[in-house]
Amino acid sequence: MLEAIDSLGKNALDYYRSFKDLFVFVYLSFREVIRRGPRNLQPILFTIVSQIYFTGHQALPLITFLALASGSIIVLQSTAQLSLLGSQEMMGNILVVTIIRELGPLLTAFTVIARSGTAVSTELGSMQVNREVEALRTMSIEPLGFVVFPRIVGGVISLVGLAFYFNCIALVGGFFVSNLVSELSFSFYIEVLAQAITPEDFMLNVIKNGASGLIIFSIATYQGLKVKGAPHEVPIATTRAVVNSIMAVVAFNLTVSVYFFTRGFA
């Protein structure tokens, strides 16, 4: 019994230390860029744009497919169930809650973890192995500012953009796909949707996605740079980045949802 409590305490302390290290890591990366000021930002901006291209633009086909599929299923199922109850006007609320508030942020985050979180963690791990990070230090280029900061910023921008795109495709595309098998008027659909969406929904969406981007790319860069120099450490770091990102993103989304729910934002 005592051993179990010891083990629990040790795990809790380990998590606390990791969280503290991660926080300091992110803080130092932002501090480094702020300290440098606006001069010669071109190499950093170039990396941010590249990150947006790889994480945001290249993920569009997969996000389109996921959004269409999940949007269609939700529109189709909610139409069928609500028509049985004779309350189709509730469809807007259901779509907003499931797609904009909950499913959109989570599915987008999982897609980004799978595509870009793994890529970033592997890339940085390989950079450590190939002594590229060390080379940057010897050139007086601080890796936290040059490698970590642009990936986090690019990742956050990409995730917020991708989630917005996901919502649009899921809501509009989902209607057209589901309309192939069900009869639902577009004007009615738009009307119930417009009545249900509030500015708070957008705010919640941006908060969830922005924070998920920060979580995913902070963890991916942190784990990648934790590689000491042996190639076998790279897949281990990548796996750890994926597992930690999924847990952190789900926990954060759940916490935000519960918080808003308890504040009467149902």
């Binding site: 190499p43 950079m127 190939n130 590229e132 010897t138 601080e142």
Partner: protein, 235 residues
């Protein structure tokens, strides 16, 4: 960032131990003499590479003082040490190039980041450096798409990009094409004569390179660098 000139480098009672390993240095003292071309030698594990890493600030001594111009630099933060480090040129024994940048971009990044010269001037300067090693034709390729000798040459050449006052080369002859060696020697002589290069510290057992540079052998010991007399010119 302001670049600080380096006129004095010394190590005072430096101790260094890697985690869970025997101590590498146990009170190393040495003052580096400007204009010397120092060849660090010693058996495997004697601390040649560690010494280079300490000088570059990549490792922090367990105890002791690493002094540049009388300032204890091992107590400085990254930003403060960076002012001195901008005057260090370094080429590792393997790797060191940024793999998602072309050879040209590897140099451009360094000059852009530290805002050296105007954009046109940067292009001309980088191109002139590449021509020295006859790498002009492949400068827009990424490291993975050029030969290992070209990668090595580019990594060594990049050490000269900021016209450093301290040049640190780890095994420069290893993996470098035979034709590139005389060019490297010429480049070092030229930078010493015209571009303010003061300290040249090389970890190498390459007797040919040692002769061409008329270097001085320093055997790396735990407490000192045991100096051999300078080689006489065979002129």
């Amino acid at each position: 960032m302001k670049r600080l000139s380096i006129s004095h480098i010394s190590l005072d009672n430096i101790c260094f131990t890697y985690e869970e390993a025997a101590p590498v240095f146990t009170g190393l003292c040495h003052t580096f003499i400007p204009q010397d071309v120092l060849f660090l030698q010693g058996p495997r594990g004697s601390g040649k590479n560690t010494l280079l890493r300490l000088l570059l600030g990549l490792e922090t001594p367990t105890s002791g003082r690493y002094l540049i111009n009388g300032v204890v630099v091992n107590e400085l933060g990254h930003d403060e040490f960076a002012s001195y480090r901008l005057n260090f040129g370094y080429a590792p024994d393997v790797g060191g190039l940024i793999n998602n940048h072309t050879l040209y971009e590897n140099f451009k990044l360094l000059l852009d980041y530290h805002d050296v010269g105007d954009p046109k001037g940067r292009f001309d300067y980088i191109s002139s450096l590449f021509e020295r090693f006859d790498l002009g034709g492949i400068k827009h390729l990424r490291p993975a798409f050029v030969s290992s000798t070209a990668r090595k040459a580019a990594a060594v050449l990049r050490a000269f990009a900021l016209r450093p006052e301290v040049l640190i080369l780890d095994n420069p002859g290893q993996g470098m094409s035979v034709e590139h060696i005389p060019v490297l020697v010429e480049l070092i002589h030229e930078h010493r004569a015209h571009h303010g290069l003061k300290y040249v510290i090389i970890s190498s057992d390459d007797v040919g390179l040692l002769g061409l540079l008329r270097g001085r052998i320093a055997r790396v010991m735990p407490q000192e660098l045991q100096m051999a007399p300078p080689l006489r010119s065979t002129g």
